[in-house]
């Protein structure tokens, strides 16, 4: 009697044999062959064991914490995705790789800006950036190798003459007072303001620059 191959029995054990005729032949053989029955039983048991272990979490994993992190990141990612969508332009109009990379980078930046306010530690934010980069490149439809985010710090500085953004040792000055008597204020939640009395209008004007959603 010719036995089915090991592969055929493995497929038979899970109901995966293709073709009605082949399935019938194997079934008929197995019903009459003790060795093949044992083999099918062992193979079924293997599948059952895989099913049994599949719902178990890896050892030493703090699931509660991981779930909280992922839930938070998902929320952040959706918010960042909405912000990015406003900059989305059809890929056809922007064939340059640079545009895609910059958008990916903007995406990364958005994540950090938003992530900060959820107090995500940096490794988690990087997880989220990795995810968003992939989503972004899929939407654009091109293979993008995003530039690695440099390890730079963004510093917001408020002084009597300007509000500065400093990163990469470059400083960009963001406001120009038009009068004297400037009062500077900083809010730890992400804005810096300069108040002055406008020399022309006599109005008390406060200019603020924001670094996160207020």
């Amino acid at each position: 009697m010719k036995h089915p191959s090991e592969s055929q029995l493995a497929l038979f054990a899970g109901g995966d044999v293709a073709g009605y005729w082949e399935r019938w032949l194997i079934s008929r053989h197995v019903s009459r062959c003790g060795d093949c029955q044992a083999e099918v039983r062992a193979l079924s048991e293997a599948s059952q064991q895989v099913r049994a272990v599949a719902p178990d979490l890896p050892a030493d994993l703090n699931w509660t914490r991981l779930a909280d992190e992922m839930t938070g990141n998902i929320r952040v990612g959706l918010a960042a995705g909405e912000a990015i969508a406003r900059f989305d332009r059809p890929a056809a109009r922007r064939p340059r790789l640079g545009w895609n990379a910059a958008l990916v980078l903007s995406c990364a930046t958005a994540v950090f800006v938003v992530a900060f306010w959820m107090s995500l530690p940096q490794p988690q934010a990087q997880h989220l950036i990795a995810a968003l980069q992939r989503i972004r490149s899929e939407r654009i439809g091109s293979v993008v190798k995003p530039a690695a985010a440099a390890q730079d710090e963004v510093v917001l500085e408020a002084s009597s003459s300007s509000i500065d953004v400093r990163e990469n040792d470059r400083t960009m000055s963001l406001t120009h007072p038009r009068s004297d008597g400037v009062t500077v204020s900083v809010s730890l939640r992400g804005s810096a303001g300069m108040r002055y009395v406008d020399a022309d209008t006599g109005q008390v004007t406060t200019n603020k620059v924001y670094y996160a959603e207020p």
Partner: protein
């Protein structure tokens, strides 16, 4: 261990730089039922320039607006948006201490520099939208995304407090008494130490000075609905990290927002108002709540001796109740030696100083008598 925040616009190096030129003419977006309308926009010498990995939008626009409502306008906040993703892309202009009657026109200047990622289209104009208008009766119109209702309401309360105070001086001691107070106040402002301050994301340790945990001292204002109970922050040299405070609502109304002023004392005994710690809460009467911040404040050296921080004092600078009303310190509270020395004058006081400086005492008296 403090975590680091890493962020780079310059990693877009190697990209093609789009030719950025032309005036950045803003696009004004007001809803149909807006209480203000824009009569004209003059972009002035607004421009955009590529700088490294970003576009720097230099705005110097002059708007002429009209009060199209039936009520007097006391404050307006416009949101100015170049982009909402990277830092420095969004700003606002708030004008308080206004008094614009129905049908009257008033100017608004937008003098601001904002940033945009380099490859964003230079054809997309900067958007100016209305965040809020505060009326004389303290009613408000607008989406209030920048919390301008709260900011302008606090400013309006301060304005009313200060005008009442100056008018009482005028009534008690005449114009000369008023002049004396204004001059002293202006002198205090001139002497007020101005401190350059940096807010750093993530609390990264940038100096090697040993870190110590320091308790907050608190200025207790008797009428304040919030009582600060305790607070700590970590201090290392010229950096203050991660303040943690606990406060109690001692009023009979629920509180939804408060702002704590933060005074720092250096090793020479000099005191500075460093910044504010805002907190959105939902604090029922009698309840306590923590306030936590993960930012770091840094005080860079600008000539002279480096700053070393020795102590901190907190005080409640404003409270917003759940029903939208606000509490601010009284003039009596502000007359404490410590606060008088560090607090900047209110918007209205600043405006009155300017009137006195430019037009003299008579003009100041006339201005106060309008209210």
């Amino acid at each position: 261990m403090p975590s680091r925040r890493f962020l780079s616009l310059a990693a877009a190096a190697g990209l093609c730089v789009s030719a950025a030129s032309g005036a950045a003419v803003p696009k004004i977006d007001l809803p149909k039922d807006s209480p203000v309308v824009v009569l004209s926009v003059d972009p002035g010498d607004s421009s955009e320039t590529a700088r490294g990995g970003a576009l720097l939008l230099d705005l110097h626009a002059a708007l002429s607006m009209r009060n199209a409502s039936q009520r007097r306008i006391h404050g307006i906040t416009l949101a100015v948006t170049a982009q909402e993703i990277t830092p420095g892309g969004k700003g606002s202009v708030t004008i308080t201490s206004l008094d614009v009657g129905p049908g009257e026109t008033f100017p608004v200047r937008v003098d601001m520099r904002l940033l945009r990622p380099l490859q964003a289209s230079s054809n997309v104009p900067v958007e100016i939208s209305l965040d809020g208008v505060l009326f004389e009766d303290l009613s408000f119109y607008g989406p209030d995304k920048l919390s301008s209702r709260r900011t302008m309401t606090v400013s309006e309360f301060e304005a009313r407090r200060d005008r009442k105070y100056f008018k009482s001086l005028l009534a008690e001691g005449g114009a000369e008494r008023l002049r004396q107070e204004i001059v002293e106040s202006m002198a205090r402002q001139a002497d007020r130490p101005s401190l350059d301050v940096q807010v750093v994301r993530g609390g990264r340790a940038t100096n090697l000075d040993p870190e110590k945990q320091v308790q907050f001292a608190f200025l207790h204002l008797p009428d304040s609905p919030i009582e600060p109970m305790e607070g700590v922050a970590r201090i290392a040299g010229n950096e203050v990290r991660a303040p943690r405070l606990e406060v109690k609502n001692r009023s009979d109304r629920a509180i939804r927002y408060l702002e704590m002023g933060w005074i720092l004392r250096d090793h020479n005994g000099g005191e500075f108002l460093a910044g504010s710690v805002p907190a959105e809460l939902n604090l029922a009467p009698g309840k306590r709540s923590p306030i936590l911040e993960s930012a770091t404040l840094k005080f860079p050296q600008r000539g002279g001796q480096p700053l070393a921080i020795e102590g901190m004092t907190g005080f409640v600078s404003s409270v917003e109740f759940a029903d939208g009303s606000v509490w601010i310190p009284s003039r009596a509270d502000l007359s404490s030696a410590q606060l008088q020395h560090v607090m900047a004058p209110s918007d209205e006081e600043q405006r009155l100083f300017q009137i006195y400086r430019k037009k003299g005492l008579k003009a100041l008296v006339a201005e106060l008598n309008k209210f």
